[in-house]
């Protein structure tokens, strides 16, 4: 996928989030000097070709009561990675599933990373156990790395907004302060049945 200068400007304007105004794409179009329809069409293309994985509300798990998250790392033999990773990725509670290199020289032997969220540590561990059982991964070496403190969470800024000298940028709050895990904000959750992909 080749991104031209206009794409880069578009990404620079949208990466921090869409404005909460009636016509957010028109606002972006104005800053880019193109038509609103062009912005919408281009975003649709970027979505259709997979450059944009999804577009919508980006929730903050911890604030929504999902206080525990474990990055589970797996050491999976090369010939089984694709098959196992695809299955792990399909579980509902798994939000990321990436293959990464091993680094034996730095005592790092894991090659697959998946993120599991839950309301507390016990539920995350239960889900992990379910995955291991259902996929029969008992012979695989894995480890959950729980997060204990969040120092920063915000969207990626792939393009430096200052690179393009347009007018104001949408600026949205980022969690840059230290957040201990025991902060108390409990919310009850809807038990809605969403399209399942797990």
């Amino acid at each position: 996928m080749v991104l031209d200068v206009l794409d880069q400007k578009l990404i620079a304007l949208i990466q921090d989030g869409l404005g909460l105004t009636r016509k957010p794409f028109a606002h972006i179009a104005e800053q880019l000097g193109v038509s609103e329809q062009q912005v919408i069409n281009r975003l649709q293309e970027l979505k259709d070709n997979g450059t944009i994985k999804r577009m919508g509300v980006i929730v903050r798990h911890r604030e929504l009561g999902f206080k525990a998250n474990a990055m589970v790392v797996w050491d999976i033999p090369e010939h089984r990675v694709v098959q196992i990773a695809t299955k792990i990725a399909a579980f509902n509670c798994v939000t990321l599933c990436y293959q990464r290199p091993r680094r034996p020289s730095q005592q790092w032997s894991y090659n697959l990373f998946s993120m599991i969220h839950g309301k507390d540590r016990a539920s995350v561990l239960q889900r992990l156990e379910d995955i291991v059982d259902l996929l029969e991964l008992q012979d695989i070496n894995y480890q959950p790395l729980f997060s204990t403190r969040r120092f920063k969470q915000r969207g990626a800024r792939y393009i430096d907004p200052d690179k393009f000298s347009s007018s104001e940028q949408p600026s949205l709050s980022a969690a840059t302060s230290q957040t201990p895990l025991d902060d108390k904000n409990d919310f009850s959750f809807p038990l809605v049945v969403r399209h399942a992909y797990g």
Partner: protein
């Protein structure tokens, strides 16, 4: 407690933001069809409040890794007594967007996302220099997950 409208927006609009001129009016229309009597302005206000409350970080796109610019996941093995200091150094880089302490010998994990792979290397080199710690650099090789957002009932 979350209102019904908040729940709807949080759970059902993590993907599929309407790509139309007036997306919030479209959302209101969709919700009306499902039996929620809301106006465009109420949708905008509700999203804006969710943002103020810190329950959503933004409304926008999630890009496929490596499709735009460069990024990596990196880790440091930080002596416990230096954790605050080192976390602050890592946080100070604009190119770092996630930074978490985790339970492992490698106890500080962060994501560097920026315009190019070259710049990623530069940031990692600077972090090594400023912290005196060796970075474990683990760029993504393959993405197996189809991102449909996070089911809140999960």
């Amino acid at each position: 407690m979350l209102t019904q409208l908040e729940k709807q927006l949080l759970n059902n609009y993590q993907q599929g933001m309407p790509l139309v001129s007036e997306p919030y009016a479209e959302i209101a229309k969709e919700l009306n069809l499902k039996g929620f009597a809301v106006t465009e302005q109420e949708v905008i206000d509700c999203l804006s409040q969710l943002q103020d409350k810190g329950l959503i970080s933004r409304i926008g796109p999630v890009f496929k890794p490596k499709s735009v610019g460069g990024s990596t996941l990196a880790a440091l093995s930080v002596p416990p007594e230096r954790m605050d200091e080192v976390a602050e150094i890592v946080n100070s880089f604009e190119q770092v967007n996630h930074n978490y302490e985790r339970e492992h010998q490698y106890n500080l994990w962060f994501v560097v996302a920026t315009g190019s792979q070259n710049e990623v290397f530069q940031v990692l080199a600077e972090i090594e220099q400023q912290t005196g710690l060796k970075v474990l650099n683990l760029p993504m090789e393959q993405d197996y997950h189809i991102d449909l957002g996070f089911p809140l009932w999960c």
